[in-house]
Subunit: 390 residues, 2 copies
């Protein structure tokens, strides 16, 4: 097992009707900015309910709506301006991954004087932590757990055709209220994307090479098994609270640092996926359903031991040659994504060979030339992966 | 799944040679009291190494040694007096569960003026959280993870023949340095006890009744499988770093709130075990090896569904009648404890029928008359359990 530090101070308040705890979680005298996405949070009455809970204290309450999926730098700059102008001292994200990610960025930029006029620099840190020492405190009311943002300190921001990841030790939410009931009215497509996103978050931290992380492996396998068990149920019966609760808790656990502690991590499926979303506006989860199986096909030698473990422990495959078991496991993974209505090929989006060099050019631009747990996934390997997903 | 709150702000710094991080984890101007147990921490050079790291700042450093296994109230009172007298503002526990538990108690009593002269009251809260709003900050250098104390907010303190559990939201360690190498010089008996203790921590949160906590169940099963996989190896080859690392991380994960969130919990094996330790000074882990299988035998109807799940997923038992599978799973559990050299019967300690009413009297005294996940384990049921362990 590798050395590691695990630290996650987010307080998760999970379950039915937990919004009633909001009043106890936000300082009673906060000057709070509620940040949300599209109109559905307003139409569903959630924003009003949030305001009502917050009005139980002596708080100044303002709102900023319109954070889009794949939150955009220029939109966030407007929120940052508003937060600075109003002297906001607490942020509350009400929404899914995009709103939560965007709120973390706002928290850094609105509080850190070093960043005034240099907000684009924050984005330039890529995978490195943002060197900020001040951020507004933030909490979330999470309506779509899939990105794991409700219990981690990272975010992904879009700017032009760039999609960039940032993180900082000071952008953990102080709390996240996670009520699985909020997901019941989501479009089926978004829930399916969330299941795939969660699945791939786990796979990126698990299908690498053996590193004697037994707790981490078993926990990763447990999440994958759970997603397979409840995936179709929760799509077919959105009112099944327990299925949703299990999906939601798995989504949070998949990307809060736990299963990746002390073991190698890949993330190449995400890096390729981000470029595909930036170029073609294909939903994040849907890009991963294309990139993950393609990576496994091209890199089955490098990932052999863990693919065999995955085949056995997640899919119960113990018979046949090693090659056959690995292929069957990849087939079943693609079939699982398919059962959720999520395609695994570019052709299903009427895209073909032309995507390969465009994505490669973007990977080069963003210095993604040595991806994967081994750092050996060159542009040429990425080219093969993209071709395998055509 | 039940509603829950999960909150655990302890920073875990895990792995080889992580003591070098200590200087960065404790405030540079702290007036720090190092708390430890027997002489082995001194003889091994660990206390000197800790002091050397701490001396890199401008800290005032003092020590308090002699915290015994099952830390005693009167010993802790001496440490509390010393901490108050010296104006200590930070505590560092260097040791295993007893030292860490004792340090949490010292943290509450030394900082909370409300408690001066009323320290025994702190103990009287039993399973309720201690209503303190002030505690000294504390960190740990953990040499024997088994109790989970390095990443939770509870502790067990002995006073006379009483053994009582306390917890408080303000007694999480700020950090815990966990270097599995420290466990390599431990007596085999202590390591074996730690494996059993960890196993039973998991079982108490898992073998209850089905509650749709799929992540929790899979993670619990993963810890149990790991303990079974590495138990004998780590006893036979103490120098096997990876085996120790897996044991140690499982021990921490078994009792940090994670697997018990949103699901029912039992803890009757611990409640009976605590009384047995208090009366007969049998090591904590060894009492659990007697009480857990006995509880399962007496309460196999109430726990039927989860015992069957345990039989299948942890031991791979899928053939035969339900009754036979459950019996086989209990047999294998006892055999596993036996393989670690830990007895599962009172007779192995030359104790017999006389223990039954003595333990029952103590349970009654401590109001442990409605134990288990159903709250239906009366003194009469406990009597049957004790007899099943004779």
């Amino acid at each position: 097992m590798n050395n590691f530090t695990f630290y996650n101070p987010t307080r998760v308040v999970f379950g039915k009707d937990q919004l009633k705890e909001l009043h106890n979680l936000v300082p009673a005298d906060a000057n709070i900015l509620i940040i949300y996405g599209g109109g559905s949070a307003v139409r569903s009455g959630l924003i009003d309910a949030v305001k009502e809970e917050l009005s139980k204290g002596n708080r100044k309450i303002s709102t900023f709506g319109g954070i889009e999926p794949n939150p955009r730098f220029l939109t966030l700059m407007k929120a940052i301006e508003q937060a600075r102008k109003d002297g906001v001292d607490y942020l509350l994200a009400v929404g899914g991954g995009s709103v939560m990610d965007g709120t973390k960025f706002i928290a850094l930029a609105a509080a850190g004087e070093d960043f005034v006029g240099k907000e684009e620099e924050i984005l330039s840190f890529g995978f490195g932590g943002v060197p900020a020492n001040k951020a507004l405190p933030l909490g979330t009311v999470c309506t779509l757990p899939a990105t794991g943002s409700e219990m981690n300190n990272g975010g992904v921001i879009s700017n032009g055709h760039d999609k960039l990841f940032f993180h900082s030790p000071i952008t953990f939410p102080q709390f996240s209220i996670i009520d699985p009931s909020y997901t019941m009215t989501l479009p089926e497509r978004q829930v399916a994307n969330g299941i795939v996103d969660t699945f791939v978050h786990v796979a990126e931290q698990y299908v690498t090479y053996p590193a004697e992380g037994r707790f981490q492996d078993r926990t990763a396998e447990g999440i994958l098994q759970t997603l397979i068990e409840i995936g179709e149920t929760t799509l077919n019966d959105p009112q099944d609270y327990d299925a949703r609760a299990n999906l939601v808790w798995c989504a949070t656990m998949a990307l809060n640092g736990l299963i990746g502690s002390g073991v190698p991590q890949d993330w190449s499926a995400h890096m390729l996926g981000h470029e595909i979303t930036a170029l073609y506006e294909i939903d994040h989860g849907r890009t991963l359903a294309m990139t993950l199986p393609a990576i496994w096909k091209v890199r089955k030698e490098q990932k052999k031991a863990k693919l065999l473990q995955y085949a056995e422990r997640v899919w119960g495959l113990t018979e046949g040659s090693e090659e056959a078991r690995i292929e069957e496991a990849i087939d079943r993974t693609e079939a699982f994504f398919g059962s959720l209505g999520v395609p695994t090929r570019f052709s299903r989006y009427d895209l073909g060979e032309e995507v390969v060099e465009k994505v490669i050019a973007n990977l080069e631009k963003h210095k993604m030339t040595a991806l994967s747990e081994h750092g050996d996934m060159t542009l040429d390997v990425s080219r093969k992966v993209l071709r395998a997903a055509l």
